[in-house]
Amino acid sequence: MKRHPLDVVSLVAAVIFLGVFGIWLGVDHGDLSIADIGWLTPSLLIVAGLAGVAASLRRR
């Protein structure tokens, strides 16, 4: 396993899946309600996408 230039695909996927886990944790064991998923999920996509944009620009 060698270090390589930042892989944007992996980064975006990681943010999405860790975010899904975070949302689940918040709803199942935290103070968030099911209704909060309605704004959390789109926000997660926005964050993941922005992370991808930033990483792509930085990689260049």
Binding site: H4, D7, V8, A13, F17, W24, V53
Partner: protein, 476 residues
Amino acid sequence: MSHRGRRGHDRGMSETSSADAGGFEPGKLRTAPTQMRRSRDDRYIAGVCGGLARYLNVDPVVVRVIMAALTVVGGVGIVLYGAAWLLAPEEGSDQSMLESHLPAGPRVRMLGWIVAGVIAVAAVVGSGPWFDWGWIGPFPLLGLAVLIWVLARPRSSGSAQPAAPTAPTTPPAGSTTTAPGAPPPPPPPGTEPTTPIPQSPTAADATGPGAGSTTAMSSTTAMLPAGEGEEQTTRLPMVPPPNAPAGAPPAEQTGEPPPPLPPPAPTPAGPPPSPPPPKRRFDPTLTWLTLATLVVAMGLLWLIDQTITDVNGPIYLATGIAVAGAGMLVGTWWGNGRALIPVGVVLTVVLIAVSQLPVWKFGEINEAPTNAADVRSSYQMGAGQIRLDLTRVTDLEALDGKTIHLETGLGQTRVIVPRNLDVTVFADLNAGDVRVFDREANGADASTQYTDPDGPDPNLRIDIDGSLGQIEVTRA
């Protein structure tokens, strides 16, 4: 519909008919899933509609209109289009995008079509009153988009030119790496592509079904080779970058059609003894490392479940998602974690599905208590059946003023009420069939209420909730 497209279609039809004249092969079943090819020259996005029109020998406009109509019906059009993109080979090729990434070969194609069909049917059902996808809606499509995006990337320089590598591939390697969704960068002044690529209009022309979402995908796809090139340049500096600057376009790039998949053997057309194209070897270390960690985590959870406290299904799934996500995060800088993406997608879809259940419990609750003390205030079932028979309760007056709550995520809830008990019933079901004495409701958001007229008998309130299934309250 452009003039160019129509000409391409006509030419394609004559090709098809001459190919069909080859003879009857009794051992070979000819169906769209096995025989359809994505069109190379009549395409807006990936040539699916053009290819299907050619296969059916009808005007592509008809196919496009039908596809657009299907897109409105629960997004079926998008599902089918995406499936065809993944599963149908391009003209002149025998290997689809998915097959080229899997060792299993053409058999995958039929399986893929079956899966796509099931999803399409589910999407139609989902758009009807039976099941409200709610916020889950975009997830399957998102998964499909990610899959296409990942698979559509060329694996090595010369081989497998992807669906629509057009303008954005021509700028010099490394000069442009733009994020998904961003507008394509203008080509640098000196590098105007001099050899126009006749087929495949740019993504901006896309007006086909689902253009809104797929345009973004195809432009993303087209964007990638530049970044890919950069990666390879860093890895193998002595090899000329795959998408070389416009000065001297390599012969293999203009000579269509390129060989479908395996890295091209030294072609006679190429310059003398060119070194073999750089092979991107997949390093599975991170994948196995993560999956092994996943196994350890599952084992630990199971152990906790056996010794300390109950661990239910969603916790296993969510932990799996977290471990896979962590693996991908590592893969951002070390090793290759992309193979974990499908694992995460599957776990997420299953997690979403099981989140619909109120409790992690399956089977049947069947109770007929004989005294009021045995009547619980709450009965819950994840998937299965609840049957509560109150007719044998001897001290009904002890139930007066109480409330019973019953909840079944998936399945049937039945309550049988004795004659000499007055009840107030609130029944709510996301989708299905509700019957409370003589009142009925069905379809999506089926709910009904019932209140006995005030009498001398004791009063009991019954609340029943469910996601999908049946609620039935009857009087003995």
